[in-house]
């Protein structure tokens, strides 16, 4: 109506409704095409700005975590024993089963069976009658007559050999974390270097060859070792030891508290940062003139006859109290014998080698029996499997919890590799604990590598809020006219259709 009057005034303007682009459907098509482009582009935008999160084999990991590595062990009693006591087999079996129920932690992963027949399987342990109770050559045990009679005694020897007790928590904390490669650093530390009162040279090579190398060559199935030695002068203590007086002689004493702070890492340069392999330190400490002789004192302040102590997961320290004469700037092989004998024992303890059970002797002068080595292999493999299971579980949990955490192909491959290695470890455990250890160690290192992958941290410090901060200036200002136009057209369309309805 209005427009009609406008047109009739004859001013030369066209009626806007007659303009070609002023049609409702054209306007609506323009609006719709905008929205279609936006809706079509949305998935692309979403894909391009999202974080790469590959799916981890969660269900497989859950399944593997519930599994446990099992080492089947067969023990065979020789006819020399079973002849005298025919039902010994079943009685020992019951006692062992009871022990397994009472101490499940100790028997974890071990499946012990007593076998009647003697088939020549590689992992078969045999028990036979002998002169005295002793560990003989590979996987063979001799028992004397009285021990052979008692099922309790037999079962306790067997359980000590096959599943050595983890005596206390302190014991398990003393053992170093498993690693493929260790550095053994032997250090001769002179606290002072007053003239003629210090050690300049030592026969370390001979002592190492005698005491340490046989042990580490036996353990080479578990770990590789690098051996280093050094001599240092002026290595002061960080504290003043207690003065002790006995009549006219003076000595210094180290209390239990002193031992915990004995290592003065600020002043002693013991290790370098050249590799990430764990280092085990063996320190021969020569006290200075003022502190000599030095001994460890007990809680009542009396000196003990102990000269060495072990620092859990770090190494061992031996205090040298040789009386110096003016020419003894050199420690001979004979001087070093007790020191390195001690270091060898401490090294075995640090690496978790189970001790020979009480009342048992070693028949041959071998450093480590196959019984001990097998028990160590089983325990290390079991710990590695548990460690890798825990790590894999943690990865899955972490990725579930943090939505911003990227999971790349590398992480996924490492996780899959760890799973495959775990599977191999389960499979080979039946035949060979050494192979199982190798696979379990690979699983552990792969799982840790996946867990510590630096790529997983990349976006944690770039939260989604930053992205919105960048996009808002563009998106907010563009979306307002789009939405308003949509609403306006919708209202107009509704009004139009109502008008039509009324008409």
């Amino acid at each position: 109506m209005n427009s009609a009057t406008f047109a009739n005034t004859g001013s030369g303007f066209k009626d806007p409704r007659k303009l070609s682009f002023e049609r409702d459907w054209i306007r609506r098509t323009v609006l719709a095409s905008y929205w279609i482009v936006i809706i079509l582009a949305f998935p692309f935008w979403w894909h391009l700005t999202s974080i790469e999160r590959l799916a981890l084999p969660t269900s497989q990991i859950r399944l593997q975590v519930q599994k446990n590595i099992i080492f089947p062990i067969a023990v065979h009693f020789d006819a020399s024993i079973t002849e005298q006591n025919p039902n010994l087999n079943s009685r020992v079996q019951t006692l062992l089963r009871d022990s397994a129920i009472n101490e499940p932690g100790r028997w974890k992963g071990v499946d012990l069976r007593l076998q009647d027949r003697n088939d020549e399987a590689s992992n078969l342990y045999t028990v036979a009658l002998g002169e005295q109770t002793s560990i003989a050559h590979s996987r063979h045990l001799r028992v004397n007559k009285t021990d052979a009679q008692s099922a309790t005694r037999l079962s306790s020897i067997l359980s000590d050999l096959i599943a050595p007790p983890e005596s206390s928590t302190s014991h398990s904390q003393r053992v170093v974390q498993y690693s493929n490669h260790y550095r053994l650093a032997f250090t001769l530390l002179n606290e002072g270097a007053a003239p003629n009162r210090f050690v300049e040279t030592w026969d370390v090579q001979a002592a190492l060859a005698e005491f340490i190398f046989p042990l580490i060559s036996r353990l080479s199935i578990l770990h590789n070792f690098t051996v280093e030695s050094q001599v240092q002068y002026y290595a002061p203590l960080a504290f003043e030891p207690k003065r002790l007086t006995f009549g006219d002689t003076e000595a210094s004493g180290l209390t239990q508290e002193d031992l915990t702070v004995f290592v003065n890492s600020a002043e002693w340069t013991l290790a370098s940062s050249v590799s990430n392999d764990p280092v085990l330190h063996f320190v021969l400490f020569a006290p200075s003139e003022t502190h000599s002789p030095m001994s460890i004192i007990d809680s009542e302040g009396r000196p003990t006859n102990q000269y060495s102590f072990l620092l859990p997961q770090w190494g061992s320290i031996f205090i040298l109290n040789n009386e110096f004469n003016s020419s003894s700037l050199h420690l001979s092989y004979n001087d070093l014998k007790p020191v390195f004998c001690n270091f060898a024992t401490q090294l075995a303890a640090l690496l978790g080698v189970p001790p020979v059970p009480l009342g048992l002797s070693m028949e041959e002068s071998s450093i480590l029996s196959d019984w001990q080595l097998d028990a160590l292999l089983r325990r290390r493999a079991f710990q590695n499997v548990q460690g890798s299971q825990d790590t894999l579980h943690s990865i899955v949990k972490l990725v579930d919890q943090i939505n911003n955490m990227p999971v790349g192909q590398v992480v996924r491959d490492d996780v899959l590799d760890a799973l495959a290695s775990l599977h191999e470890a389960y499979r080979t455990a039946i035949a060979s604990p050494a192979l199982a250890l190798r696979w379990s160690s690979r699983a552990l290192s792969m799982a840790s590598r996946a867990f510590f992958n630096p790529g997983m941290l990349a976006l944690l410090y770039f939260p989604a809020e930053h992205k919105y901060a960048v996009y808002t200036p563009l998106f907010a200002s563009i979306s307002v006219p789009l939405v308003v136009a949509l609403i306006r057209d919708f209202m107009a369309w509704r009004r139009g259709s109502q008008d039509d309805g009324r008409r």
Partner: protein, 471 residues
């Protein structure tokens, strides 16, 4: 398996791990004043950190991998920022930095050299350095090295030199040099000095494992000085105090010198005659942030003609324009004095970084003249992520190196026996962007996009109606 007695285990491990044949690391603070102080005992006095190593080529690991491992291991050992001596700083200037030990025959050897002039040398570098000594700082001469006094000196620097000798094995030399100025620290402006006043310490006891240790004092030419203790071994203008256990010096030993007849010390007035055969000045000028001129002036102080190698190792922060290279004496072009010019422009590395450029030339400097070299440079415009947090301070450029070359004429000349000379470092001001720029760009471009979008969208969807105005 390896056993160490006097050689430090921590350093030995690094040398073994990365199979280093020869290694030189120097950490210096201040600039060495060649004109007044002459040549240092150890040639490596370039400001900041300088590391160079010769490594045999092996098939197991590449030289560059080992070089990067070496840098990181040494920066861990000495608490220095050697890790940043990456491909942007590394070059291989074999002529200026030759092998100083035996030439190994078992494998071809390669050199890697890098320097970081902005490195600050401080106590945290001295402590690990002293720990490499058998007696640390508890006995022997090293006991004098009191950080508070050493770092108060006019110039100080430490060096680790590992040299392989075919007949003797690996030789490790730890050096610490410092220039003290007793006149500056004394209240009465006297030049008397003794160990106690210089270091706040005296020599308490010899290091028991040292084969020999001695203190050498260069005696001044004037006669009116007194030296205590009074019974050193005199030789050739030097006073030598041997410190072996058999020597007859009382311990603690406090060596000193005093001038009883002199009330206060007066510095000699200029003009001074420079002590070193060459004096070098190097500057960069130009007022803009994009261009400049690098000019070097070399003066030959000796009466003979000198042949000197000139080495410029320039990070890609500056581009040198070779066509603008000019050699002048008294404003006269003398291109004939510069020969054997070699120039490696910056090359793009695999990690998208530019290697430094290297300019090497031979200068023939006539006696008692000053040679001026100048060339135009362009200053780089860096990516905003490459700027350090304190970008406004400017960038340190390593000093140029002048090194002796064998003389053409075989005359024996006293002034020809000179060693590597480092020029002071330069500070260059690069164009620095406003660091809030990325967000400004986002906001600006978003606003522009919105404006364009809004107007077009409105044009397309606007509904035109005629409004009748009631009159």
């Amino acid at each position: 398996m390896s056993h160490y007695a006097l050689f430090p285990l921590t350093l030995g491990q690094i040398l073994r791990e990365y199979a280093i044949t020869e290694l030189h690391l120097t950490l210096n603070a201040g600039k060495w004043n060649y004109d007044n102080w002459g040549h240092p005992h150890e040639a490596g006095v370039g400001t900041g950190a300088e590391l160079w190593a010769w490594m045999g080529v092996s098939e197991v690991t590449t030289v560059d991998e080992r070089w990067s491992g070496l840098r990181n291991a040494l920066s861990g050992l000495f608490c220095a920022s050697l890790g940043s001596l990456d491909t942007r700083r590394t070059l291989s200037p074999t002529v200026a930095f030759p092998l100083s030990g035996s030439t190994p025959t078992f494998a071809p050897h390669e050199l890697r050299h890098a320097s970081l002039p902005s490195e600050n040398v401080c106590t945290e570098n001295l402590t690990p350095f002293l720990k490499l000594l058998p007696c640390k700082s508890h006995a022997g001469l090293a006991a004098l090295l009191n950080p508070q006094k050493v770092f108060d000196a006019d110039w100080h620097g430490m060096g680790i030199h590992v040299i392989w000798k075919e007949d003797a094995g690996v030789e490790l030399k730890l050096t610490l040099q410092a220039v003290f100025n007793p006149v500056r620290t004394s209240a009465g402006k006297r030049r008397d000095w003794n160990l106690q006043s210089l270091f706040d310490r005296t020599i308490e006891r010899p290091c028991p494992v040292a084969n020999s240790s001695s203190v050498t004092v260069i005696l001044p030419e004037e006669e009116d000085h007194k030296i205590t203790p009074e019974n050193p071994t005199y030789a050739d203008g030097l006073a030598i105090y041997g410190l072996s256990s058999s020597s007859n010096f009382t311990i603690p030993l406090n060596i000193g010198m005093h001038w009883p007849s002199e009330h206060s010390f007066h510095y000699p007035l200029p003009p001074l005659t420079p002590v070193a055969p060459l004096s070098v000045k190097r500057t960069i000028h130009g007022t803009t942030q994009t261009r400049g001129v690098l000019s070097v002036s070399v003066t030959n102080n000796s009466p003979q003609e000198l042949l000197a190698g000139y080495l410029e190792m320039m990070p890609a922060l500056l581009t040198l324009w070779m066509h603008t290279l000019k050699v002048e004496i008294n404003s006269q072009l003398r291109s004939d004095l510069l020969s054997g010019l070699k120039y490696h422009p910056p090359s793009l590395q695999s990690n998208d970084r530019l290697s430094p450029s290297m300019l090497q030339a031979v200068l023939t400097i006539p006696p008692k003249t000053t040679l001026k070299i100048s060339m135009e440079v362009n200053k780089a415009f860096l990516k905003y992520t490459e700027h350090p947090p304190d970008a406004m301070r400017g960038w340190d450029l390593p000093g140029a190196v002048f090194f002796p070359l064998p003389q053409l004429s075989h005359d024996t000349c006293s002034s020809c026996d000179w060693e590597r000379i480092y020029t002071p470092t330069l500070l260059v001001d690069l164009p620095t962007p406003d660091f809030s720029m990325p967000y400004n760009v986002i906001i600006l471009s978003c606003t522009l996009m919105t404006l364009i979008f809004g107007s077009i969208f409105n044009l397309l969807t606007r509904k035109w109606v005629v409004v009748e105005i009631q009159e």
